[in-house]
Structures are given as structure tokens and as C-alpha cells.
């Protein structure tokens, strides 16, 4: 057992606490910018939906990295930032659907940390041999069961917040935006990695992961009526990545393909929060599981906390006609 030297005596600790010079405790900001932001934010955020621009939260794809969205949601919720509609792709669709159903950030965190085993689907030694030697793809049915169970097989219309998710039709290359019908198969299709999982046959289409064509589904949020869009983007820094597994290579190709349209999509959003998770591989090592970790979730919190006031300012400026209407 490790032996630590005797710590400072209790009295000395108390003296340090009592007389220690002030530390980095952020004192209340009473600058002109801060007080006006606070004043206008209180005004606009208290208005009911419809009397202010509709706020859309867009959650990007990104596999394991995308679990940072939970941290972003957590900060938005704690600060009372209103979210009216939600859209997501791939892992963003899983988190988005659960959030739109009213799951708290703590519940999302708990669910995501056990999500690793749920996303892997029917992986066992036999299916693995089939995959390797007969090129037979896995099934992502297990993910659908997971979502179905958590959402009690709800339809889009039954969720607490309007929600949309995106998949790609493998025959036409179109982005298919789901916003009605049963949620679970749509989310499954959105997260259905090509090359690993069989395309999902749903509504007469063969569907795979939407990240290839709609990495940051701003268009889906706009279809739901969002006017001001906050996008949480967990982009891959693939310039430095060294994929060492089948899944990470596949995911990297998807990310590169997604990056082609990413810049345009990022510009279409009104505000971006980009957690520093670019160096995290989309899928964990050589496994086929996507296992979020508390560290990744915390990165989302850090980024959202850092840019929260800027996001408020951006929304206030966007909403100025609605604010002015209140004064006139």
C-alpha cells in the first residue's frame, strides 16, 4: 500500500483557505456587453415558441466522437437555452431521438455509456467468419431494438420535440430525411454503416448511414421549421488519423466524403459548437463497437460552456425583429 507523507495539519489548511489570495473564480461580468446580453436574453428566451425564431439543434454524425453532443445538450439544458426542434445523422440521430423524447442529459449519458454493446448487432464468431470469408454483412437490427425499447416504439409525431434524421438511399445516392412514421427503423437506417451492416430495407428503399450525404443535417432541421440553427459538429481530423481496423477505415472514408459537403453545411448553420474530439477515432480500435466515453462527453461540455454566451448573442442578434416588436 502506498504511504503518503503526513499532509499539512488541519489548522494550516484552514489558514491557507482563509488567507489564500483570490484565485481564478470568474467574478460576475457587469460589462456593458454582458448586462445587455443578459437583459435581451431574458426577454427573448422567455417568449414562447412562435413569438421568437424557432431554434433548431443539429447533431452531426461522427460515430464515437458524436457522443460529445450529450455534453453540449447538457450545458444547453442547464443554462435554460430553449431548443425547439432537433435533427441528427448517424450517432447524432441516436442521441437526437432520445433527447427529442425527453431524456435528460444524465439519462443520455448513462444510455450512451452502455451503447457500445447495443450498436454492434449480431456480431459473433460465426457472423465474423461469414463477414471475412463470404463477405456477408452484419445486421444492425440490434440497434433498432435498442431505440425501440428506449422510445417505446414511438412515432416521430409522438416525440416531445419535432425530430428528423437522415439516411442515404444506396440505389440513388439521395439523402432521405425522416420526420414521420416509426422512429426506431429510421434511426437504425441513419446509423447503418455501409460495408459493415446490410442496407436496411425501409419504405421500398435500401438505406445506409446518412453521414455520407448529410453529415450535418441543417436541411433536415429547416424542414422542421428551424429558423436559427445551432449545430454541434464532431468532425474527424482525418489528416492525422491512422485507421488500423476495418471499421475505422470505413468510417474514415465516410468522414472524408462527408467533409466535402461539410463546409457548405457548416455555413448554413447560424452557430457552431465544435467539441475538440477530432483526434478520436469514429469506432473503437479493432472492435465493431462504438463506445462513448465520459471524456468525449466532457469535451462537448467544455466546448458548449466556452461558447454559450456567444451562442446567446448570435440568437439575440438574429431575433432582433422579434425583440423590437416587443418594444413597439
Amino acid at each position: 500500500m502506498k504511504q503518503f507523507p503526513r499532509p499539512l495539519s488541519k489548522i494550516l489548511w484552514l489558514l491557507i483557505i482563509l488567507f489564500w489570495p483570490p484565485r481564478i473564480h470568474a467574478e460576475m461580468d457587469l460589462s456593458a456587453n454582458a448586462v445587455l446580453r443578459d437583459h435581451l436574453w431574458k426577454d427573448i428566451s422567455a417568449k414562447p415558441k412562435g413569438q421568437r425564431p424557432t431554434i433548431g439543434l443539429v447533431l452531426s454524425a461522427g460515430g464515437t466522437r458524436a457522443s460529445a453532443h450529450i455534453g453540449v445538450i447538457s450545458i444547453l439544458k442547464e443554462s435554460g437555452f430553449p431548443i425547439d426542434v432537433v435533427a441528427g445523422t448517424s450517432m447524432g440521430a441516436i442521441i437526437g431521438s432520445l433527447y427529442a423524447d425527453g431524456k435528460s442529459p444524465d439519462e443520455l449519458r448513462k444510455l450512451s455509456l452502455k451503447m457500445g454493446a447495443a450498436t454492434g448487432s449480431n456480431i459473433n464468431p460465426w457472423t465474423l467468419i461469414e463477414y471475412l470469408f463470404a463477405q456477408k454483412l452484419f445486421s444492425s437490427k440490434k440497434l433498432e431494438r435498442f431505440i425501440k425499447k428506449e422510445l417505446k416504439d414511438k412515432r416521430f409525431e409522438q416525440l416531445q420535440k419535432p425530430f428528423a434524421c437522415v439516411a442515404m438511399d444506396i440505389n440513388s445516392g439521395e439523402a432521405i430525411i425522416f420526420r414521420e412514421g416509426r422512429v426506431a427503423p429510421a434511426v437504425r437506417a441513419s446509423m447503418n454503416l455501409p460495408g459493415i451492416f446490410k442496407p436496411v430495407e425501409y419504405r421500398h428503399r435500401y438505406l445506409v448511414d446518412g453521414a455520407i450525404v448529410d453529415y450535418v443535417p441543417v436541411d433536415a432541421a429547416k424542414l422542421l421549421g428551424a429558423q436559427w440553427i445551432l449545430a454541434s459538429v464532431t468532425e474527424d481530423d482525418f489528416t492525422r488519423a491512422r485507421p488500423d481496423s476495418v471499421l475505422s477505415s470505413m468510417q474514415q472514408v465516410i468522414d472524408i466524403r462527408g467533409a466535402v459537403i461539410l463546409d457548405t453545411q457548416k455555413k448554413a448553420a447560424n452557430f457552431l459548437i465544435e467539441p475538440a474530439v477530432g483526434n478520436v477515432p469514429s469506432a473503437g480500435g479493432t472492435t465493431l463497437y462504438m463506445t462513448p466515453t465520459p471524456w468525449i462527453i466532457d469535451q462537448g461540455k467544455l466546448a458548449a460552456n466556452r461558447f454559450l454566451h456567444k451562442a446567446e448573442q448570435s440568437y439575440i442578434l438574429f431575433s432582433m425583429p422579434a425583440i423590437a416588436k416587443g418594444y413597439l
Binding site: 507523507p5 483557505i17 483570490p22 481564478i24 457587469l30 456593458a32 448586462v35 413597439l328
Partner: protein, 316 residues
């Protein structure tokens, strides 16, 4: 064994008295002088005494103590870079020395290097789960980084050990405010105020009352002489904005004019006067006031808000 014992008895009287007793006497503290100087606050002398060459004569715990004394002495004489160097080396050499770890963590925290300080505080807590200083450090770090629930937990642990520190109660109240737990925040802020009537705490309570919807009470708190003596114009312009929120337009105008007496170009005063003019249907006057928010603050939020507002007015 018996022979050795007999030899010692026989040789004992022939040895010089001092030498024979040295075997049993307590060892002299090699850092006694530095310890005394340090405790007397003579930090420059500690630094001089513990010159780099001196370090080679210490071993084990004494070497760790030497690093602690010199690090602290540099820190108290505002040579933070040097203090950091000694602490870091000390912690590398003696990873289990909690005094050094705590000193390094506090210095890193003060320097705003939160993510570097955090693991050190956690290490201290693993060894001493109730260590108040480590809990306080983590509470402040978590609050700054946005981990508010964790921060609350660490503040509560700190306050169990140090229940009479007004600043800690105030900081705890501010975290609860950010979590929108206004009743708990009010309790903590009032506890802080009871321990020390600090205008910062009064300001916190004013914000809490406003967030709870008690604007009247919040406004009366802003009038407190204690608070005004510290915040002056800042409190006054806050009052103007809150009066607007409470639809007390005439009083808001008076407050804005009070601000302008002290600071004629104050952008918030112009904003208040513009909103008051709009409220009375005086659109051209409102536009004039918004236009007065100076171009020199082009990148500021106030300027951008004024411009956006100006563009929104003709729509109605």
C-alpha cells in the same frame, strides 16, 4: 552479543561524552534554519539559503521539503515561473508528496491551467477524501469549465470543513445560480452575506431575486449604499435595464440620465433611452439614441445589437 554489550560498557567512560550520546540523541533537522526563516516570512533569505548547490546535501523527505520551501518562497515573492519549476521537479521526484502536489495544483489553478491542476487535486482527494483545499480547487475548476453539478458537490464538501468562509459561500451561490437553483442559491448567498457584508454578494442576491421574478426586491437591492459604493455606474445602468423589464419607463429614463452625468457616452444609457423613446412612440428619437452608440465599439455586442435594432425598427 554479550561480548558487544560488555565492550560498550567498558569503552563507554573512555569515549568523549558528546560522541557517545550522539548515537541516541534525536537527529538535528538539516532544514531547521530554512524552516524558521520560512515561518517568519523571510522568503528571500530562504531562497538565498537554499541555493541550487545546497540541494545536493538533502535526501528523501528532506529534499522534498527543500523543494516545497523554495517553491513557496518563490511564489510568495511573485516569481511564479521559478516556483512552478521547483514544484514540477519536486512532484516528479516525489510523486507521493501531497504538500508538493497541492502547492503545484494551486499554482496551476491560479495560472488558469485548469486541466493541469485537476489531476493533482484528484490525487490529493484519493489519499485524503475530505481534504478541503483539494475540494475547493476542484469546485472552482469545475465551475470554470462548466461542470456545475460536480462543482456543487465539491463546494458542499469544502463547506463541511470550512463553514465560515464568506467567499466560498458566495462562489457556491453563484454556481447554484448558473444551475438555476435559485432557492438554494439565495440561501448560500444570504449565508455569505451574514458572514461578511460584501457588495458582491448583495449583487448576487439582486440577480437571484430578479431571476425568481421579484423585480421590486431586486431593484431595491440595487439601491443599497454598500452596493452602490462599489459598483457605481455599473449598478445604475443595471437598474435602468431592470426598470425597463418592469415597465417603469419614466424611472428608467431618470436612471439613464444619472449614468450619463458620470459617463456621457455610456452605451447602455443610450440603449435605455432608445427603448424608452420607442415605448412612447418616438421612433426618430430612438433611432438617434441608438446611432449614438459609438462606432469605436464596432466589434462589441452592444454596437452590433444597436445596429440590428436600428435595422429592425422600420419594419414596424
Amino acid at each position: 552479543m554479550r561480548k558487544i554489550f560488555l565492550a560498550l560498557i567498558l569503552l563507554g567512560p573512555s569515549l568523549p561524552a558528546q560522541a557517545s550520546w550522539n548515537i541516541f540523541a534525536p537527529r538535528k533537522d538539516p532544514l531547521a534554519k530554512e524552516k524558521e526563516l520560512f515561518q517568519e516570512g523571510r522568503y528571500k533569505e530562504v531562497i538565498k539559503d537554499l541555493g541550487r548547490d545546497q540541494f545536493q546535501y538533502y535526501r528523501g523527505k528532506n529534499l522534498a521539503r527543500a523543494y516545497f520551501y523554495i517553491g513557496q518562497s518563490y511564489e510568495y515573492t511573485d516569481h511564479l515561473g521559478r516556483a512552478l519549476g521547483f514544484y514540477e521537479l519536486g512532484v516528479k521526484l516525489f510523486p507521493n508528496d501531497l504538500r508538493l502536489a497541492a502547492a503545484l495544483a494551486l499554482l496551476l489553478h491560479r495560472a488558469g491551467l485548469e486541466t493541469n491542476a485537476e489531476p493533482l487535486f484528484k490525487k490529493i482527494l484519493r489519499a485524503h477524501p475530505n481534504n478541503a483545499e483539494a475540494h475547493l480547487g476542484l469546485a472552482e475548476i469545475d465551475a470554470n469549465l462548466g461542470f456545475l453539478k460536480r462543482s456543487v458537490h465539491h463546494y458542499q464538501a469544502t463547506l463541511k470543513s470550512v463553514p465560515e468562509n464568506a467567499d466560498i459561500w458566495r462562489h457556491y451561490a453563484e454556481v447554484l445560480m448558473r444551475l438555476r437553483q435559485f432557492l438554494d442559491a439565495e440561501f448560500a448567498a444570504k449565508k455569505s452575506l451574514a458572514l461578511n457584508p460584501d457588495p458582491k454578494t448583495e449583487m448576487d442576491i439582486a440577480f437571484i431575486e430578479r431571476d425568481k421574478g421579484n423585480l421590486d426586491q431586486a431593484l431595491s437591492l440595487l439601491d443599497s449604499p454598500n452596493l452602490n459604493s462599489k459598483y457605481g455606474v455599473k449598478a445604475e445602468r443595471l437598474k435602468g435595464l431592470w426598470l425597463l423589464e418592469d415597465n417603469q419607463v419614466a424611472k428608467a429614463i431618470l436612471t439613464a440620465k444619472n449614468v450619463q452625468r458620470v459617463s456621457p457616452d455610456d452605451p447602455i444609457a443610450h440603449w435605455i433611452l432608445a427603448q424608452a423613446a420607442l415605448n412612447r412612440g418616438q421612433i426618430s428619437k430612438a433611432k438617434k439614441e441608438l446611432g449614438l452608440i459609438q462606432n469605436s465599439q464596432k466589434h462589441s455586442f452592444v454596437y452590433k445589437a444597436a445596429q440590428a435594432f436600428l435595422q429592425s425598427i422600420p419594419q414596424y
